[in-house]
């Protein structure tokens, strides 16, 4: 129970007026970016990062993670009231949430969504509290070969398990890794792929790329589709909240199942979006009357929201303990941590105890405060969406530009952002996934360093990746996952050969 004591210490770090008010600001900003089309969790965190440059790291990361929680909550508002998912993982919430709003039960749907998100992330935070320290202390024994094999596992599982066409995932990932390598080579000090441009010496900043890929490109897409925002108004009264909460225990199986799915998929890289769909589909399959799903069942809101938040939160577990983000937004939080000179990974638990436990405590507190805030401020945020897009769009563009510039005080980065905006728009339209790119860009340097350090240690012998049981099994698992589609097909054909068609 050492974790509990440390957690209490974390709460003590947090409970100052300054941190608490930053938390509120972060949550409100987060809901705001979650609600606006064209912004969202990853992008909101990236744009607002410069605001935290003058704060101390603990206050800064508390505010950033609160922006993240806020964005998770905010996605549900647009899904239910406007039938527009604010985030990819809110898509499943629209299936039953919007019909409920159409039937005049918007308040119930919103309460259900917020409460189940709260439960989902609470389960995941508890998992982090008790699992992260032990994973981190286990990973303290890792050397460069082990780390490289874990990075390899992350990349390979994205390629092998992703639903997109394989060559598109590979393109996205190699492009990210290549861009990460631009600039000075950290091992030899040699310049790579700069072509004599001074602006490229520092390399391509990860956050600038994110702002372009997710912010600018989203504005272009939203303009193209000409969103006409016509939604339902909603105000949540205490009576409705209590009514929904009274009903809730009836669905404990759904809640528990969705939480488990979410936690599992959140830790697996690239699973956050799949979690909400899986939560929804399983709830539907196990229901007594599956045909009523999609017509406005409260269970159809509970299931995906719980799973989405559980996965969104548990994605922070590998990020904190191993330095490997489980989702795009976790990757950006990781980028934020690196701005502070904090290197996420097992050492963080030893060297920056205050920071880690402050962050974990802020997850508890942020979710409780967040729940209260969203329940009380829904009408305001719903009103934000009625502002004409012609006024919102240029403001988002300006915020993106400010964010991109402030990260390194470079005007070149604003152009880079614009370029990435176009790339993101085209990639989204032809189905090249952006998540592997983001992940590769943030992990590129670390994985290359790990690889080359292990090579230096082993005198250039590749067998170091099979030199002991641990590293060997991780590397093998990575390769199996990479070729999983082929292996799966082999199994399939073998099974078919044994059982002739028609029986």
């Amino acid at each position: 129970m050492e974790a509990l004591g440390l957690l209490m210490h974390g709460f003590a770090v947090l409970l100052t007026w300054k941190t608490l008010s930053l938390m509120m600001v972060g949550l409100l900003l987060g809901v705001f970016v979650g609600v606006l089309p064209g912004l969202g969790g990853p992008n909101g965190v990236a744009i607002l990062l410069p605001l935290t440059f003058t704060m101390d790291p603990t206050a800064a990361i508390v505010m950033l993670s609160c922006i993240y929680w806020g964005a998770l909550f905010g996605g549900a508002i647009t899904s239910i009231l406007f039938n527009i998912p604010g985030e990819a993982w809110s898509v499943a919430t629209t299936f039953d949430g919007y019909p409920m709003a159409q039937q005049g039960k918007a308040a119930e749907a919103l309460t259900a969504a917020f409460t189940s998100s709260f439960i989902g992330s609470l389960v995941a935070v508890m998992l982090i509290t008790f699992l992260a320290p032990s994973i981190a202390s286990f990973a303290l024994r890792f050397g460069p070969p082990e780390f490289f094999s874990v990075y390899l596992l992350t990349f390979c599982s994205f390629v092998g398990l992703g639903r997109e066409e394989k060559h598109k995932t590979i393109i996205s990932m190699t492009l990210g890794l290549l861009l990460a390598a631009v600039g000075m080579d950290t091992v030899s000090g040699q310049l790579r792929m700069t072509f004599g441009f001074d602006a490229l010496l520092r390399g391509v900043n990860f956050l600038v790329a994110v702002i372009g890929l997710f912010g600018i490109s989203e504005i272009l897409l939203t303009m193209e589709e000409r969103l006409a925002l016509r939604g339902h108004a909603a105000a949540i009264s205490l009576r409705v909240v209590l009514k929904v909460w009274k009903e809730m225990p009836r669905y404990w199986v759904t809640l528990l199942r969705s939480s488990a799915i979410g936690c599992w998929l959140g830790i697996t890289p690239g699973g956050a979006i799949a979690a909400s769909f899986m939560g929804y589909n399983l709830a539907k399959r196990f229901a007594k009357d599956p045909s009523t799903f999609g017509t406005g069942r409260i269970e159809g809101v509970f299931a995906p929201e719980t799973a989405a938040h559980a996965s969104g939160t548990s994605a922070l577990l590998p990020m904190l303990a191993l330095g490997i983000p489980g989702s795009g937004t976790a990757a950006i939080l990781l980028g934020g941590l690196m701005v502070w000179g904090l290197n996420p990974g097992p050492l963080l638990f030893v060297e920056h105890k205050d920071f880690v436990w402050g962050l974990i405590a802020s997850m508890y507190l942020g979710n409780v405060v967040g729940l209260v805030i969203v329940l009380t401020t829904v009408p305001i945020f719903a009103a934000v969406l009625r502002v004409p897009f012609a006024a919102i769009a240029p403001m988002i563009v300006v915020s993106c530009a400010i964010g991109a510039f402030a990260i390194q005080n470079a005007l070149f980065d604003v152009w880079l952002m614009l370029g990435f905006g176009v790339v993101g728009y085209v990639f989204k339209k032809i189905g090249i996934p952006l998540a592997p790119f983001t992940l590769a860009l943030v992990l590129g340097n670390r994985s290359e360093d790990a690889f080359r350090l292990s090579m230096i240690g082993a005198g250039g012998d590749l067998r170091v990746f099979w030199s002991n049981g641990l590293v060997g099994s991780i590397t093998t698992l990575a390769l199996v996952l990479l070729f999983w589609p082929l292996i799966g097909r082999l199994f399939e054909s073998a099974r078919r050969r044994r059982r002739p068609i028609g029986t």
Binding site: V25, L29, F32, P50, L51, F53, T54, E165, K168, I171, T174, L175, L177, L178, A181, Q190, R192, M193, I216, I219, L220, M223, E224, E225, R226, L227, A228, L229, R230, A383, V384, V387, P388, F389, A390, A391, I392, A393, P394, M395, V397, V398, S399, A401, I402, F405, A406, N409, W415, G421, V422, Y425, F427, K429, I430, F451, M455, I456, G459, G460
Partner: protein
């Protein structure tokens, strides 16, 4: 409690503007989305993107080959990993070209219609101009022009509403970043007039 800047400004803009139904870029010519001709097909764009990626892979690959893609005694040289990444990128692009080639004759998927493309350009060109103006005018003056201009010309919102909203937004941004959070932004002649 101090409300965050952008939130406060948007709430203010909401009060100012009472026409929630104004459509984006609707120019009243009655051109519906369905009969707008396609600018290009998805397959064409895919082929172009793969060709560009292939070219990128060749250029970057050449650069890495120059900086040493061999295997020294103590492991890879600095160009080793990026060089092979270029090889993989080139391979995947060629594969993509092959797949796109096989799709020939199948149902044509529209990448973007002329109507959609016009709206995308409507937001892209002002954004690019904004980035350009920022170099001389500083970020705040440029953002005032962008927001006011975009609202007036593309959103067809009344001139005074556009100007007031834009001014409020710019001021809030200025106070948030420059005064409250000490984040240094590019500034131009106008800020200098006020002594910043």
């Amino acid at each position: 409690m101090a409300l965050p800047g952008s939130l406060r400004s948007t709430r203010a803009t909401h009060d100012i503007m009472a026409e929630p139904e104004s459509e984006i870029g609707g120019d009243g010519r009655g051109e519906s989305a369905q009969d707008s001709p396609a600018v290009t097909t998805t397959r064409t764009v895919e082929v172009v993107v793969y060709l560009l990626l292939l070219a990128l892979a060749l250029v970057l690959g050449y650069d890495n080959w120059k900086s040493g893609m061999g295997w020294a005694k103590d492991g890879p040289q600095s160009g080793y990993l990026p060089f092979y990444l270029c090889v993989i990128l080139a391979g995947a692009s060629l594969f993509g070209l092959g797949v796109a080639g096989m799709k020939r004759g199948q149902a044509v998927k529209t990448f973007v219609t002329r109507d959609q493309f016009r709206r995308v350009i409507q937001v892209f060109v002002p954004t690019a101009l904004f980035c350009l103006l920022m170099q001389w005018l500083g970020i705040y003056a440029a953002s005032f022009l962008l927001v006011a201009g975009f609202m007036r010309v593309i959103g067809r919102i009344a001139l005074w509403k556009s100007l007031v909203t834009s001014l409020l937004f710019t001021l809030v941004m200025f106070v948030t970043f420059e005064v409250a959070f000490d984040v240094i932004m590019p500034k131009g002649p106008i800020e200098r007039l006020f002594g910043y």
